[in-house]
Amino acid sequence: WGREQGRGSQGRQMERNSELFTLTYGALVTQLCKDYENDEEVNKQLDKMGYNIGVRLIEDFLARSSIGRCQDFRETADVIAKVAFKMYLGVTPSVTNWSPAGDEFSLILENNPLVDFVELPDNHNTLVYSNLLCGVLRGALEMVQMAVDVKFVQDTLRGDNVTEIRMKFIKRIEENLPAGDE
């Protein structure tokens, strides 16, 4: 029986696998909303879980992409948008709204895969549904010695036209080498 082909078309498998991720994420947010009293705490928990994912995902990312050290924050922004988002979520956000100092930019998502099939109920107006992503970015960049601040400033779930993630470079994290080990 093992050799027979299944009846579904295999071509749409990719899409299907991202549906698994999207629906699982939805089930998680639903569970968190049951477990916590208010949206703020859910947001915090999502960020924390994202952070845990980010610190481990970066290793997977560096291995798969074989990308080396970035020269500056602009290059980092491009790698995040064009390589990382593409690789894991199948979308490529645009990088815009650079601050004059070049330490802050926005990722604009026309389509946010996390919110397919999602509608926010009225009683959750401070819930940042996709907040996991902020944690993932923060955690991943921390592992490559970059402290960043990440937050959602626009969200299609709240009626905005696009989803916008704002990223601000805070500082370079010095590697703590043990004394005398240089």
Binding site: W1, G2, E4, Q5, G6, R7, G8, Q10, Q13, M14, R16, N17, S18, E19, L20, F21, L23, T24, Y25, G26, A27, L28, T30, Q31, Q45, M49, N52, I53, R56, L57, D60, R64, K86, M87, Y88, L89, G90, F117
Partner: protein, 158 residues
């Protein structure tokens, strides 16, 4: 696209969240397993709905089970179930010889007691999928040597 990675990382984060870091009592563990299983159930319902949108009607129960073993499993884990057995009286055993969600635990018997929490979500996925196809069931899983795993589906006759 490395599209299986996000789900795997998310799944282990869900387990970490629900079960916490410390070992709790049996009753607590049971409740947590139920919690994860019911999350899987809802996801399974949603997935199968999209997956069967264009498929033809199923002949019988066995036909449904074959669909779960092939298309559904491929959608979840990019491989088919390796072996399907049935007693033709409503019990099906689905064997996956290299179950993806156990592959990050070390193979063999050392962490066998940790296995149930990594299987609960998938049990829910299968039960949810079957339920949307009109088949009521109880799904359990067992592992004797990782990362091989057997899912047992008991059909509940209505």
């Amino acid at each position: 696209m490395a599209d299986e990675a996000p789900f795997q990382f998310l799944h282990s984060e869900v387990i970490q969240y629900v079960f916490g870091a410390s070992d709790s009592g049996d009753a607590e563990t049971g409740r947590n397993i139920t919690k994860v299983e019911s999350m899987g159930f809802r996801v399974g319902q949603g997935l199968i709905e999209r997956l069967t949108k264009e498929t033809s009607r199923f002949k019988d129960e066995l036909d449904v089970m074959k669909f779960i073993c092939k298309d559904f499993w491929t959608c979840l884990f990019k491989k088919q179930i390796d072996n399907l057995r049935t007693n033709h009286q409503g019990i099906y055993v689905l064997q996956d010889s290299k179950f993806q969600l156990l592959s990050h635990l070390s193979a063999g018997k050392q962490y066998l007691d940790q296995a149930p929490k990594y299987l609960a979500f998938t049990c829910g996925l299968v039960r949810g999928a079957l339920s949307n196809l009109g088949v009521k069931s109880i799904v359990t899983a067992e592992v004797s040597i990782m990362p091989a795993c057997k899912f047992q589906v008991m059909i509940q006759k209505i």
